[in-house]
């Protein structure tokens, strides 16, 4: 089997059988990294020397990539923003520390949308990340580099962060698995905050089992993250194959059916939705009970504004530490205000500034009630409704995206006046801290499309089990574009 298609377990077997050494594995990955980076623009930093801690775990010796918004002691970390040019952290993110201690080998730190505030992979300070499936198409973001690293086969897994859909969406566009465990399952310590109440550590893998393996390694309470959950001490790989007969899934009525868009000229969208319906049929055959559920349309329409309000508000506060005083490029000026002002004026792109102004506006005393608190109320309505549904159903199954990866020129991060529920529903998983996984479900116009499954909070084990069984029948495990390196 080719390296680019191998899962963690595949590689581990090679290591165990001494067919390859960790160093050789790293070198293979490094060589691919350089090649793919040249084509796609994946990395902020490529780690040019082999460093592995003495460990024996299910991922020891396995190369991986890390989004550049995780604090890595001694390694440049910029969050793809000029405001952090040259910033060398003095402490390790818990996730990075755990991976190090488990013997995983870091190959590079990956590009993201600036400060993780975007969904396209086009706004990082070193430029656009391309989709290995098609050079003219978006990778999606914000964890664009990490997605591209796995989608192009450089590494079997890569760590990202997911605030609205920042792992699960690019995973869909790249034909790989993207898993976001329950809020609190994995420590956020050292993950540069975007919106603290929505931020999750999440990751890209080649298969569902690898996501379970990583969750085993990364989960657990952290003395530095008060929102982290006590370890349930379960091995999530042991229940992957559990019988799913009779498990119930639901999807939102009215928006997933191609018939709902009679006048649509968007062929690929219709094809994507048709694929979704086919996937549902396959799942039914497998033994799932799948039902349509009507969910208050007003609430679904409110997902995007609610997400915008909460995330921008929290982001403007979370990033108020970026002043260039104690770290980051110092602004010029004779007064303290001037140096802060100049550092921030130069350091942030226009898009980020607009988000911050919006966030700050939302938090203003006179607007808080109407904007910030109302959004927080909608959040509760949505989460309560979902929690209620999860009493009946084991999970929500949806198309992860309404379409294949868009081309660069027909997408921008400016807000469109029409909110597309299909493009934004993944944020529900962040609102409620629900475990949520995206997995490839088909090919449309030579591009991958995907489904997403979201379950009740703390139900990580069951969601992985469901996804694993679906992955089996869909047969897209280890999906990678065949001729990428040709």
């Amino acid at each position: 089997m080719e390296f680019t298609k191998m899962t963690i377990d595949d590689l581990k077997q090679q290591l165990n059988e001494a067919k390859i050494s960790p160093k050789e594995l790293y070198n293979t990955s490094l060589a691919l990294s350089k090649k793919a980076h040249e084509k796609l623009n994946i990395f902020e930093t490529i780690i040019d020397d082999f460093q592995m801690e003495d460990a024996n775990s299910r991922i020891s010796g396995i190369p991986y990539a890390l989004k550049d918004n995780f604090s890595t002691k001694g390694i440049l970390t910029t969050a793809s923003s000029n405001i952090l040019n040259g910033y060398i952290p003095v402490y390790d993110a818990t996730v990075y520390k755990k991976l190090k201690e488990a013997g995983a080998v870091l190959v590079g730190k990956t590009i993201l949308d600036e400060l993780a505030m975007g969904g396209t992979g086009t706004t990082g300070h070193t430029g656009t990340v391309h989709n290995p499936w098609h050079m003219d198409r978006l990778m999606g973001g914000s964890s664009a580099g990490s997605a591209a690293a796995v989608a192009s086969g450089i590494v079997p897994f890569a760590i990202g962060s997911d605030t609205g859909d920042s792992v699960r969406k690019p995973a869909a566009l790249g034909g790989i698995v993207g898993f976001k465990p329950s809020y609190g399952r994995i420590s956020r310590y050292g993950l540069f905050a975007f919106a603290s109440s929505l931020d999750h550590v999440a990751y890209f893998t080649r298969c569902v089992k690898d996501s379970a393996i990583l969750t085993n390694i990364l989960k657990g309470q952290d003395e530095y993250d008060m929102t982290s959950l006590e370890d349930d001490n379960l091995d999530y790989t042991l229940t992957l194959n559990d019988d799913i007969k009779g498990k119930k899934l639901f999807y939102f009525k009215d928006i997933c059916d191609p018939a709902y868009y009679p006048n649509s000229s968007d062929e690929t969208m219709i094809e994507t939705l048709t694929k979704f319906q086919e996937t549902l049929d396959k799942c039914r055959k497998l033994g799932f009970i799948i039902e349509e559920v009507s969910f208050d349309k007003e609430l679904l329409n409110a997902i995007y504004p609610t997400y915008m309000i909460i995330s921008c508000a929290e982001a403007t506060s979370n990033n108020a530490n970026l002043t260039g005083i104690q770290f980051g490029p110092r602004g010029e000026g004779d007064s303290i205000d001037e140096i802060m002002l100049n550092a921030r004026t130069k350091g942030f792109s226009e898009l980020i500034k607009r988000r911050f102004i919006l966030g700050s506006y939302i938090l203003q005393k006179e607007n808080q009630e109407k904007l910030f608190l109302n959004a927080a109320r909608i959040r509760r309505l949505i989460v309560d409704k979902m929690t209620e549904l999860f009493k009946t159903y084991d999970g929500l199954i949806m198309p992860a995206s309404s379409n294949i990866a868009p081309k660069f020129n027909d997408s921008s991060d400016r807000l469109s006046e029409e909110y597309l529920i299909l493009e934004n529903h993944l944020a529900i998983g962040n609102f409620g801290g629900f475990p949520s996984i995206t997995l490839p479900s088909g090919i449309v116009k030579e591009m991958p499309v995907a489904i997403n499954i979201t379950g009740p909070v703390f139900g990580d084990k069951d969601i992985l089990n469901i996804a694993y069984k679906i992955e089996e029948i869909l047969g897209f495990k280890g999906l990678v574009k065949d001729d990428f390196y040709v």
């Binding site: 003095v90 108020a320 109302n374 509760r380 807000l415 909110y419």
Partner: protein, 96 residues
């Protein structure tokens, strides 16, 4: 439409500036967003809902024991700035 001067004031309070064109983009963006946001207001019964700050409240969190653990030294505190003097971060004189 929201006044440009207001936006400038907001930016200033957030310690950055933008150019005229950018403010104009922002003005337009505000309009779109405020329209979307208005949708929220119309949702029935919204006023009776308790705002949600945390994804869930499990009441599992506990306070930290009062124990000292230090991982960085003064040198590391200063390792990301050249603006230092006598083991402290040097800034232009702060006038109160």
């Amino acid at each position: 439409m929201i006044e440009k001067d207001k936006l400038k004031d907001y930016a200033r309070k957030l310690m950055f500036e933008m150019n005229e064109e950018e403010y104009e983009t922002l003005q337009k963006e505000f309009e779109v967003i405020l329209k979307q946001i208005a949708l929220i207001d119309n949702i029935k019964g919204i006023k009776d809902v308790k705002p949600m700050t945390f994804p869930y409240i499990a009441y599992k969190a506990t306070f930290r024991e009062d124990e000292v653990k230090q991982e960085i030294d003064a040198e590391e505190v200063l390792s990301n700035t050249i603006h230092q003097y006598q083991d402290q971060v040097r800034v232009p004189k702060v006038v109160e």
